[in-house]
């Protein structure tokens, strides 16, 4: 929809911080998608002779490995680029699975009310009461580490927040006069849920999902760092930091490079999230742009 796109781009032009953040996130996405083509080398090709090279501006650095090499002589830049793949893929999958599941349950609970609402809300409460990291470690210990299992664990741990948000939003949207107007017009329940309630939930949920995406990427790094997440030969930033631990004092850039990649992405995502919240809502948008009476 060109009108829609142009208005979003127009909004973006007004906000420099958001422009920068969106650019950063897009760069990461492109890097992850195009990793095989843009990475200078294979992230797993080892070169014991050229191990622990500094970045090119440092002593002993060379342009062949712009960000240097790790303890096995693997090219750090290639590893960071491939690492973005694992992090973003896991993040998006988790948000998709947990977000869909949680939202559907939340909307059903909020719209139906009564017993349905009570049952769903109690399940959410119980699930929320479990300590997340402990549960994740336990499940991973049983089913074993790996990317697929990470997604499963994060999804089990992460749907409640969507459910709660969707429920409370549905409860308030359900009471809006325009919902009553749709009923009075003779609209079916399906139309009301998909045509009115979900579109009005969307901005809140997209904001939430963006924040959750950043959180999952961080959590993935933590679990990979602890050794229960992504496993070699796959590459992930958390894994890279874990491998670099021994060299923290002697070769600090080994920690710094994946750490910075992670920090910049999470920060940018948080900025994007708050920007999405304002532009996804036409009322908010008009409040910002139209002269106040």
């Amino acid at each position: 929809m060109p009108h829609w796109l142009s208005s979003v781009l127009g909004e973006l032009r007004r906000d420099r911080l958001a422009t920068a953040a969106v650019t950063i996130v897009m760069t990461y996405l492109l890097a992850a998608l195009l990793a095989p083509w843009i990475a200078p080398g294979d992230p797993n090709s080892q070169d014991v002779v050229g191990r622990l090279q500094g970045p090119f501006w440092d002593q002993g650095g060379a342009l062949a490995h712009p960000l240097g090499t790790d303890a096995l002589g693997q090219d750090l830049l290639s590893r960071v680029i491939y690492g973005a793949r694992a992090s973003l893929l896991i993040g998006f999958l988790v948000v998709l699975v947990a977000g869909t599941f949680g939202t559907v349950l939340g909307v059903v609970a909020g719209y139906r009310g009564g017993r349905t609402d009570q049952i769903i809300s109690r399940i959410t409460d119980i699930q929320t009461a479990f300590p997340g990291l402990l549960l994740a470690l336990t499940i991973l210990a049983v089913i074993g580490p790996g990317e697929t299992n990470l997604v499963i664990v994060f999804a089990i741990n992460g749907w409640m927040v969507y459910c709660r948000t969707a429920r409370s939003q549905t409860l308030s949207i359900r009471e809006q006069p325009y919902i009553e107007a749709a009923r009075a017009a003779g609209s079916r329940q399906r139309t009301i849920i998909f045509g009115h309630i979900i579109p009005n939930l969307a901005s809140t949920l997209v904001t939430l999902a963006t924040l959750e995406l950043a959180r999952i990427i961080l959590a993935e790094s933590v679990l990979s760092f602890l050794g229960v997440g992504v496993q070699t030969p796959s590459v992930s930033w958390g894994l890279m930091i874990a491998d670099a631990e021994t060299y923290m004092t002697t070769n600090p850039w080994l920690t710094f490079v994946p750490g910075a990649a992670l920090a910049v992405l999470v920060l940018a995502m948080n900025v994007v999230a708050s920007w999405v919240r304002t532009i996804a809502d036409p009322v908010q948008r008009s409040r910002e742009s139209i002269a106040r009476a």
């Binding site: 002269a291 106040r292 009476a293």
Partner: protein, 366 residues
């Protein structure tokens, strides 16, 4: 017909502010008040050169539709405009003090002290987590330094004053235990707690039921008399204006377009906007003909306006109306109008050209 150009009362920039009618300094005089809100679309001129005076004990009504700047004008008097809005020009002399030049500390003493405020929505103007007594006592402590039993005693007295039954026990009640009308009484009690010289009531009965409206308006009148307060009553309702005020100013697009004695202003309007507002209302006598409507929309105050702001919607507009900015001139005794046509054609110009549809405007039955 008075010659508008030589009339001294119409000159708002006279140096010493003296009410020409009384020859004394008025309680409140506002000159060239301007308040602006910067927005993306430009600078929104909510109040654009408003001038009026209020004498001690007098009632002035300001009437206008939403967006006319009537509420912002009132808030601007004591610099209570919410940011990013700010008062950018004018002079507000109150009891010999220029409020726009006063320090924040001095202003806080005036707000709720010498000038009491009553707002439209009593339910949201009160803090839901504090008892009404505590809220009253807060004002008493802040402005009069009353504490403990003395404050509580005075709070009960004030609640009795605004005719709240069983004031001794209800002083401990929370706002949610009160009806809308009762909440508004509490707001009035807070507003008069320090015997203000001026009460500013911004749509005080708009949120209330019609049978409660009369009670609250009557209470305000009684208190005004007892405490010799001046009253600035802001409303959109011409009926309230007719019953409550001696003098009225009509606002449109951030400006005052007509001021005058209320009965003259309503009976023989000197501005097409005032007259149109009157004719828009369904009347008792005529229930068959179509209502007069004002076509179009009020102007966008973020854009530069030329000429009379009402001209694009005015059934009497002529070329002259858009050529120059109209001035507020005195056309009859204490009756001013910014209507260029009325200024040229005389006192009956507006009423003649905008007759009431299907008979007389003033209905006979009820």
């Amino acid at each position: 017909m008075p010659d508008p150009t030589t009339n001294p009362g119409a000159n708002p920039t006279a140096n010493a502010v003296v009410n020409p009618a009384t020859g004394r300094a008025p309680l409140l005089s506002v000159e060239g008040l301007r308040t602006e809100f910067p927005t993306r679309a430009g600078v929104f001129k909510a109040v654009n050169g408003v001038s009026f005076i209020i004498d001690r004990g007098e009632t002035l009504g300001i009437v206008g539709e939403s967006g006319s700047g009537k509420s912002v004008s009132a808030l601007s008097l004591v610099r209570l405009v919410a940011p990013p809005g700010r008062v950018v020009g004018g002079r507000v002399m109150f009891e010999g003090q220029d409020l726009l030049a006063a320090s924040d500390k001095e202003l806080r003493r005036v707000r709720g002290g010498r000038i009491g405020f009553v707002f439209q929505d009593p339910m949201t103007s009160l803090n839901p987590l504090m008892t009404v007594g505590d809220q009253l006592e807060e004002t008493l402590r802040l402005h009069l330094g009353l504490k403990g039993a003395a404050a509580r005693g005075r709070a009960v007295e004030l609640l009795k004053h605004v005719e709240i039954p069983a004031a001794e026990s209800r002083v401990r009640a929370y706002p949610y235990e009160f009806s809308g009308g009762m909440c508004q009484r509490v707001m009035i009690a807070i507003a008069i707690a320090c015997n203000p010289a001026l009460l500013v009531a911004d749509e005080p009965t708009t949120a209330l039921d019609v049978t409660i409206q009369g009670q609250i308006l009557a209470l305000i009148k009684d208190l005004q008399r007892e405490l010799s307060m001046a009253l600035l009553l802001i409303t959109h309702d011409l009926g309230v204006i007719a019953h409550m005020t001696q003098r009225t100013a009509v606002m449109y697009a951030g400006r005052i377009v007509e001021t005058g004695p209320t009965s003259a202003l309503l009976g023989r309007s000197l501005h097409a906007y005032t007259r149109s507002l009157m004719l828009c209302r369904p009347t008792a006598s005529d229930t068959t003909s179509r209502l007069l409507t004002i076509p179009g929309q009020p102007p966008n105050l973020a854009q530069e306006l030329h000429g009379c702001p009402f001209a694009p919607r005015c059934p009497m507009a002529e070329a002259a109306c858009t050529e120059r900015d109209p001035e507020l001139l005195e056309l009859a005794a204490s009756h001013t109008s910014a209507c260029i046509v009325a200024q040229r054609d005389g006192l009956s110009a507006v009423v003649d050209r905008l007759p009431a549809g299907g008979g007389s405007l003033a209905g006979s039955a009820r």
